[in-house]
């Protein structure tokens, strides 16, 4: 696949909870190698959109394609095996396992078959990759500590690093900066930039980022989609979005 070609295509996605339409007829494309931001006020349907795309919930209508193939009905496990990684809005590390094991387990299921893994070496040959990510995220010094014993910020870094261990083509990040101090927001931004520039198997991976921190989104993302009340208000570059008066009214204004 060439850079800039659509990797993910969402068409006419809708999801209702009873009388509430959380997501209404949402369509967009994420191109290969791009960082795609999703912003919108609380309750605008961002997380519902995410969960539908990730097979966590089933959309009422619409179609999701990954590299041209229909993946609408696939669950989280199948999607991950096809190269889709994600982080969650809240911290989701394996608290009683060491930081290094957290990273190893995040990719080991992509190596070999299940029976083979029963007899595979404990690191599945992923040790160097885990150590490189630990260094990059500056958490190498806590590699042997239990993830649950780290500070919130460090756990957040572990959480994000885990999503990249299997070198996915597409990573969906749900509020990577939630609850993180301003200094760390900057580091997470530059980490994501660096990971996006990295090429694995000859191409760059694409990210979709939900975030409330405007500066973060504006500097990180190539294109941004603004959602209001479950619908797409506009999609454009950070400059275009910043200049759009409707966005100001709907979101930035209040």
């Amino acid at each position: 696949m060439q850079e800039g070609e659509p990797l993910l295509r969402v068409t006419g996605l809708s999801k209702s909870y009873g009388a509430i339409q959380a997501v209404r007829d949402v369509s967009f494309e994420v191109r290969s190698g791009e960082i795609f931001g999703v912003i919108g006020p609380n309750g605008s349907g961002k997380t519902t959109l995410f969960n539908s795309m990730l097979g966590q919930i089933r959309p009422d209508q619409g179609r999701i394609e990954l590299e041209g193939e229909d993946v609408t009905d696939l669950g989280p496990l199948a999607l991950n095996r096809r190269g889709v990684g994600r982080t969650f809005q809240t911290l989701q590390v394996f608290g009683k396992m060491s930081v290094r094991d957290n990273l190893l387990v995040a990719a080991q299921e992509h190596v070999g078959g299940m029976v083979g893994r029963m007899f595979a070496p404990t690191e599945s040959g992923l040790g160097p990759r885990a150590d490189a990510l630990l260094e990059q995220f500056r958490i190498g010094h806590v590699a042997d500590k239990k993830a649950g014993e780290l500070s919130y910020g460090q756990q957040k870094l572990v959480d994000i690093a885990m999503a990249f261990m299997s070198e996915p083509d597409l990573v969906l990040l749900d509020e990577p900066c939630a609850g993180v101090n301003p200094g760390l927001v900057g580091s997470i931004g530059s980490l994501l930039k660096a990971l996006n520039r990295r090429t694995t198997s000859g191409r760059r991976s694409s990210f979709v980022v939900i975030e409330h921190n405007m500066d973060f989104v504006m500097t990180l993302c190539d294109r941004i989609m603004v959602m209001v009340e479950g619908q797409v208000l506009t999609i454009g570059t950070p400059d275009e979005v910043r200049a759009d008066k409707r966005v100001l009214d709907a979101y930035l204004g209040n």
Partner: protein, 314 residues
């Protein structure tokens, strides 16, 4: 610190090999029972401690193994066929018992497995033709292998010791393989695990099936050890006792079952001085232990480290 591991291991092995030489028959019987329960709770520790699946039906698998060996021996089928056959039955039934775990968790799963245990207990009690009903099966023979008879209590002890060591080594290898990490990921956060490609469905089922195999082998060894089995040995109460051994020893610690089984099997014997008060003393000891060390005896070093860290800080 690292060098202490092998030294402690060699020392423990030396004690396990020599201790029965200084014991009378009853002492050897107790040690053998302890080893049998280590094997059984090693399996439960995988299901409960590593994979996080609350099972209160472990004694049922223990019973399947015991009855398979007993019925085989009574029908003239060799112990060496009966034991693996019991393990195989446990694997299959364990897979089946894993299915409720895909739908329900925590206390609801505990109740589902408890129901299974009760149902199996009723089968053992009511199917008199095969199981002897309430009277059980007696005169269960001890096996021999290549001319070596395990008829005497001491030789049977060594046989069970070898079996326990082999099974412990297999469990150690399993837990060190990527499977070990997958089980723990399933325990700590199944939703995240699935989003990372961990097939939580399969690992849940296998955590029950492999745990059940350990219980089945332990049950088979137990039947031949005590030479008499009846349904009262495989009740929900026994399952709860095994669960208690795992929790007391330290769920998710490799050596947890060793300590836990000592508490469950040996401690009541040491408490004999208390006569009819023994259950009261035992219960109180467990309650105090759970309040003081909710993660089990083997969490003590970790608690101590955390305590020292908290004092180092200004």
């Amino acid at each position: 610190m690292k060098a202490l591991g092998p030294i402690a291991g060699a020392l423990a092995l030396a004690v396990l090999v020599t201790a029965p030489l200084f014991l009378k028959n009853y002492g050897i019987h107790l040690l053998t029972t302890w080893l049998v329960f280590i094997i059984a709770t090693m399996g439960l520790n995988l299901t409960v401690g590593y994979a996080g699946q609350k099972s209160l039906g472990h004694a049922a698998f223990f019973g399947i193994g015991a009855y398979t060996v007993a019925i085989c021996l009574k029908s003239g089928i060799s112990f060496w066929i009966g034991l693996p056959l019991g393990a195989f039955f446990c694997f299959v039934v364990g897979l089946g018992i894993g299915f409720p775990a895909l739908r329900v968790q925590t206390i609801y799963l505990a109740f589902a497995t408890l129901g299974f245990n009760t149902a199996l207990w009723l089968v053992m009690r009511n199917e008199e033709k095969f199981t002897g009903g309430n009277f059980g099966i007696n005169n269960i023979a001890r096996p021999s292998l290549g001319g070596i008879s395990f008829d005497r209590n001491l030789s049977y002890y060594y046989f069970v010791l070898v079996a326990a060591l082999v099974l412990a080594a297999a469990m150690w290898a399993l837990l060190r393989s990527p499977w070990g990490k997958a089980f723990q990921a399933l325990r700590d956060n199944p939703v995240r695990a699935e989003s990372l490609g961990v097939d939580t469905r399969s690992y849940t089922l296998f955590s029950f099936a492999i745990g059940a195999v350990y219980a089945g082998i332990a049950g088979g060894l137990y039947a031949s050890q005590v030479e008499f089995i009846d349904p009262s040995m495989f009740t929900v109460g026994q399952s709860i006792m095994m669960y208690l051994m795992v929790v007391v020893g330290g769920p998710g610690y490799f050596f947890g079952p060793v300590l836990g089984s000592a508490v469950g099997v040996l401690l009541p014997e040491w408490l004999r001085f208390a006569h009819s008060w023994y259950l009261f003393v035992f219960g109180t000891a467990v309650v105090v232990l759970m309040i003081w060390l909710p993660d089990g005896l083997l969490s003590m070093p970790e608690r101590w480290r955390a305590f020292r860290r908290s004092r180092e800080r200004p």
